[in-house]
C-alpha cells in the first residue's frame, strides 16, 4: 500500500462531538484514504465555520467538491432512502498539513445543500459545477448557473440516469451572452464604460478561456470569467470505460504535462487495490513527472513571454521540450499524450540508454533555462510588466483555493511532494521555492526555480535508478507476460480476466493527490467493485485559479490581465475536463 496520505488523526474530534453531537461524526476509512467526517446537511454550514476557524482544526484551504450520484451504487455502499446524492468536500489545513473530507448527503427529489462560498470563497465554482453536472442546488449561492455546459443544455450530465452521448442543440445565443455583456446600464460612478469580450478564441487565452470585462478606458472595473468551452466530459467518459482505459483520458487533462496525470491516476487506483509497484517503475515515474513539470513550466513561461512581447524565449523553451519529447517517444512511442503509466507500473521498460539520455537532457535544459533567465529576469520591460501586477496576497490565495506554484508565489510553502511524499520524493533532496510578493514576477521566479529543482530531482533519481521489472507481478491487475499466456492455463485465465472484466477494484472510495504542474491534482474515485470506475472526480488545480481571475484583474489594466493570465498557467483541458 503506497503511503499517500497522512495518518488519520483527528485532533478536533472530541470538540466536534461536543458541539454537534451526532450531526458530525468521524467515519471509519481505510488508511490510504483521507480522514472523513459525515455531516448532516442541516449542520453543514456551522461545521464548516468550525473547521475553518477553530484553532484545533484550521482547515483554511478548500480543495474540492466531489458530488456523487449513488443511484446505481449497489452492495453495502448503496444509499439509504432520501440520500441519493453525496457531496464530498475536500479540505486542507496548511498549518497542520492535514487533509479532511466532509461528507454530506442530499435527497433524490430536489437536492439542496447550504452554500459554503461565504466560508471559503474557493467553493464558488465547485458548487456551480456540482449544480451544472449533478443538479444539486446550493442555497444562498451568489451566482448559481451553468458553468461547464452551454445554456441550451437540459438535465444534469453526471447523474447516473443521463445517457453519456445525449447532446443538446446549442445556438449562438446560448453561448455568447454573459450577464455582464447583457448589462446595459452604466454604473453611476463611472463616466463611460465599454464591455470588452476577451476570448474564447484569443491569442493570449491559449485555448478556450473567456473573460468579459467592463472597462473604463483601459482600466477593468468589472470582469466575469467563464469556462466550459473545452468541457470534454472526462468524468462521464471515465464511467463508461475500464480502469486501464481511463489512462489515455487522463493524458488529455493537463496536456502540457500528461505524465503527471497518468501516474497520479494510476497511483490512486493502486492504493485502492493495495498493489505495490516495483521500485524501478516508481523511479521512472518520478523522473518523467519532473521532466513533465519542466515542460509544463516551459510552455507556461514561453507563451506568457510571447504575450508580453518577448518572442525569442518561446523558441528556447520549445527546444527543450522537443528534446524531452524525444525521450518520451523512446520510452512509450508517443510525444505528447504518452499514456505511459499503467495501473501496476508502466506500459513497458525504458530504453537502455535512459540514464545517459536523462543526464544529457538535464544539461541541455539547464542551458535553455539560463538563456531565458538571462533574457528576462533582469530585463527592464519584463520587470515593468510583471512587478506589482496581478497581485494575490497570501490570505486571498488561501481563501480562493490556490495550490501549486501560484500559492507558493504568495508565500505558502505547500507542495504535495514534500508534505505527503509519494514515489521517490522522500528519497531525494530538493527545495520548495516560495516568494512572498504574490505578483506576476513572483510566479515567474517560482516557476524558474522549480524547473531547476526538477532537474536536481532527476539527477538524483537517475543516479540511483534500480534495475528490475517495471510492472507488478500481481496478474489480477497487470497483464501476464506473453510466454505465460501462451504456455500456462493460469496465465491465459489472468489475461482473459484483465482484458474482459477489467481490474476488480474493491468497492470503496479514495481521494489521492499528486503535485501537478500547477497545483494539487486530486483524484476522487468511487468504486462499486466492478471493472469500471463508478465515479471519477478530478480536482483540477487550474479551476480555482481561473475562478478567481475575475477578482485578480479588477482594477488593473487590460494588458496586465494578459500577463496575469499567462503566469497563472490555466490549461483548458484540465480546467474544463
Amino acid at each position: 500500500m503506497s503511503t499517500t496520505t497522512p495518518s488519520p488523526t483527528l485532533a478536533f474530534a472530541p470538540l466536534l462531538e461536543r458541539k454537534f453531537g451526532e450531526k458530525a461524526a468521524p467515519e471509519a476509512r481505510p488508511a490510504a484514504d483521507v480522514p472523513t467526517i459525515a455531516v448532516d446537511a442541516s449542520a453543514l454550514h456551522d461545521v464548516a465555520l468550525f473547521l475553518r476557524d477553530d484553532p484545533s482544526a484550521r482547515f483554511d484551504l478548500f480543495l474540492d467538491l466531489a458530488a456523487v450520484d449513488r443511484l446505481k451504487l449497489a452492495g453495502p455502499a448503496s444509499y439509504r432512502a432520501g440520500e441519493r446524492f453525496a457531496a464530498n468536500y475536500l479540505l486542507y489545513s496548511t498549518e497542520r498539513n492535514e487533509h479532511l473530507r466532509v461528507r454530506t448527503t442530499a435527497p433524490a427529489a430536489d437536492p439542496k445543500l447550504p452554500t459554503l462560498t461565504d466560508v471559503w470563497w474557493g467553493a464558488n465554482w465547485f458548487e456551480r459545477e456540482a449544480w451544472d453536472l449533478m443538479g444539486i442546488t446550493f442555497e444562498g449561492h451568489p451566482n448559481l448557473k451553468r458553468l461547464l455546459t452551454h445554456n441550451g443544455f437540459v438535465g444534469h450530465a453526471l447523474r447516473k440516469d443521463y445517457e453519456a452521448g445525449q447532446r443538446w442543440l446549442c445556438t449562438e445565443e446560448d453561448v455568447l451572452q454573459t450577464d455582464l455583456a447583457a448589462q446595459t446600464e452604466t454604473p453611476e460612478d463611472v463616466f463611460e464604460t465599454l464591455t470588452l469580450n476577451f476570448g474564447p478564441s484569443h491569442p493570449s487565452t491559449h485555448g478556450t478561456l473567456r473573460v468579459v470585462m467592463r472597462c473604463d478606458g483601459e482600466t477593468i472595473v468589472a470582469a466575469e470569467s467563464e469556462c466550459g468551452y473545452l468541457h470534454r466530459c472526462f468524468e462521464k467518459m471515465s464511467e463508461t470505460h475500464t480502469y486501464q482505459q481511463v489512462i489515455p483520458y487522463t493524458d488529455r487533462l493537463n496536456y502540457c504535462s500528461p505524465m503527471i496525470n497518468g501516474s497520479g491516476y494510476a497511483r490512486a487506483v493502486e492504493s485502492m487495490l493495495g498493489v505495490e509497484i516495483p521500485e524501478r517503475a516508481r523511479a521512472v515515474r518520478t523522473v518523467l513527472a519532473e521532466f513533465s513539470r519542466l515542460m509544463d513550466h516551459m510552455v507556461c513561461l514561453g507563451a506568457n513571454l510571447v504575450d508580453i512581447g518577448a518572442l525569442t524565449n518561446f523558441w528556447y523553451a520549445f527546444q527543450a521540450r522537443e528534446e524531452i519529447y524525444s525521450l518520451l517517444e523512446a520510452c512509450c512511442g508517443a510525444r505528447l499524450t504518452s499514456s505511459y503509466a499503467r495501473i501496476g507500473g508502466l506500459s513497458n521498460d525504458v530504453p537502455e540508454n535512459f540514464v545517459e539520455w536523462c543526464r544529457r537532457l538535464v544539461k541541455l535544459c539547464h542551458n535553455q533555462i539560463r538563456e531565458v533567465d538571462g533574457l528576462i529576469t533582469k530585463n527592464r520591460i519584463a520587470q515593468k510588466r510583471f512587478r506589482d501586477t496581478g497581485v494575490v496576497t497570501k490570505e486571498q490565495a488561501l481563501a480562493w483555493g490556490f495550490t501549486g506554484p501560484c500559492l507558493r508565489a504568495s508565500g505558502v510553502a505547500y507542495d504535495v511532494r514534500k508534505d505527503a511524499p509519494y514515489d521517490w520524493y522522500d528519497r531525494v533532496d530538493f527545495d520548495v521555492p516560495i516568494a512572498t510578493e504574490g505578483d506576476n514576477f513572483a510566479r515567474y521566479l517560482v516557476r524558474m526555480e522549480e524547473m531547476r529543482q526538477s532537474l536536481r530531482i532527476v539527477e538524483q533519481v537517475v543516479a540511483k535508478l534500480p534495475n528490475g521489472p517495471v510492472n507488478s507481478d500481481d496478474y489480477r491487475v497487470v497483464l501476464p507476460p506473453k510466454e505465460m499466456v501462451y504456455n500456462e492455463m493460469e496465465g491465459l485465465i489472468y489475461h482473459f480476466k484483465v482484458v474482459f472484466e477489467g481490474i476488480p477494484v474493491p468497492a470503496g472510495e479514495i481521494y489521492s493527490y499528486t503535485e501537478g504542474a500547477n497545483g494539487e491534482l486530486g483524484y476522487h474515485i468511487v468504486s462499486d467493485g466492478t471493472g469500471r470506475p463508478y465515479r471519477v472526480k478530478v480536482r483540477p488545480p487550474c479551476f480555482p485559479l481561473f475562478a478567481s481571475f475575475e477578482k485578480i484583474i479588477r482594477g488593473g489594466m487590460v494588458s496586465d490581465a494578459v500577463a496575469t493570465l499567462g503566469t497563472l498557467n490555466i490549461i483548458a483541458g484540465e480546467l474544463d475536463r
Binding site: Y162, L169, C170, T171, H231, R232, T337
Partner: protein
C-alpha cells in the same frame, strides 16, 4: 532574367519546346506563359496565413510545428494570424465542444475568401474518443473541411503533410466550394432532444454542403440515422424543439 529557368509555375513549363499544340515555344524568351488562375493558386498555396483555432492538446503540437525544430516557415505558412480577418487557413487544432461550436463558425464566417480549413487531430475530425454529451462529433458538422489530419495529437510531420496536401489541393483549383457553403449551414450543433446519438453512426459530412462527399453508409445503422440530424434543416429560427418531427 538569369533565374528564369529555375522558376517553375504550375503547367507553365517555360523550357519545353511547344507548351501545347498551337502554343508557341517560350524557350529563350524573357517571359513565360501561364493561366492567371493558376498563377494565383500557386501564390495562394505557398503563402498560407494560418489562423490557429487551437483549443486543446493539438494546439501544443501545433506550437511545436511552428517552432524552430519543425519550422512550418519552410512551407510558407508561418505567418500565424490570430485575427480571422487576416488569415486564409483555418487550422482547427483540438476538440470542439458544443459550447465552442458557434464560436468556431463565427470565426470561419469572419475569414475573407478564399479560405481553407484543416481539421487537425481526431477530435476535430470525428470527435475522437469523446463520444460524449458536450463534444461536436467532427467539425464538419459546422464548417466545411479540406484536409483531415489524423492522430491524437498528430505529430508535427503529420500536420506538415496535411499542409502539403492542402497546397496540392489549392494548386489543383478547388476554390469555389467554401463560398457556396457559407450561407447553407446554420450555426446550430447538437442533437435533437428526442433522439440519442447512436453508438456508432455514419458521420454525415457537412450535410447540405455543395460538393460535400457522402461517406458510404454502414450496415445496421442506416435506419437509425436516416431521419437524424434534423437540426440541420430547421434553420436558425427553428428553435430548440424544432427540426425532427
Amino acid at each position: 532574367m538569369s533565374d528564369k529557368k529555375s522558376l517553375t509555375l504550375p503547367n507553365a513549363a517555360p523550357i519545353a519546346p511547344p507548351l501545347a499544340p498551337g502554343v508557341p515555344s517560350t524557350a529563350g524568351a524573357d517571359f513565360l506563359t501561364t493561366r492567371l488562375d493558376q498563377l494565383v493558386q500557386w501564390a495562394h498555396a505557398n503563402s498560407l496565413w494560418p489562423m490557429p483555432f487551437g483549443t486543446a492538446c493539438c494546439a501544443i503540437e501545433f506550437m511545436s510545428t511552428v517552432s524552430s525544430h519543425y519550422d512550418l516557415a519552410r512551407f510558407g505558412a508561418e505567418v500565424v494570424r490570430f485575427s480571422p480577418r487576416q488569415s486564409d487557413l483555418l487550422l482547427v487544432a483540438g476538440t470542439v465542444t458544443d459550447k465552442m461550436a458557434p464560436v468556431l463558425r463565427k470565426i470561419y464566417d469572419q475569414m475573407p475568401e478564399p479560405k481553407w480549413v484543416i481539421s487537425m487531430g481526431v477530435c476535430a475530425c470525428t470527435g475522437g474518443f469523446y463520444r460524449a454529451y458536450h463534444v461536436v462529433q467532427g467539425i464538419d458538422e459546422i464548417v466545411p473541411v479540406d484536409v483531415y489530419v489524423a492522430g491524437c495529437p498528430p505529430t508535427p510531420e503529420n500536420l506538415i503533410h496535411g499542409v502539403m496536401l492542402l497546397q496540392e489541393k489549392i494548386k489543383s483549383g478547388e476554390l469555389a466550394r467554401h463560398r457556396e457553403a457559407k450561407t447553407l449551414v446554420p450555426i446550430r450543433v447538437g442533437e435533437d432532444p428526442a433522439a440519442f446519438l447512436p453508438a456508432y453512426s455514419t458521420s454525415v459530412m457537412a450535410p447540405g454542403r455543395p460538393g460535400g462527399h457522402e461517406l458510404p453508409e454502414m450496415k445496421g445503422t442506416a435506419e437509425q440515422d436516416a431521419p437524424g440530424r434534423g437540426g440541420w434543416t430547421g434553420g436558425r429560427s427553428g428553435g430548440r424543439s424544432g427540426g425532427r418531427e
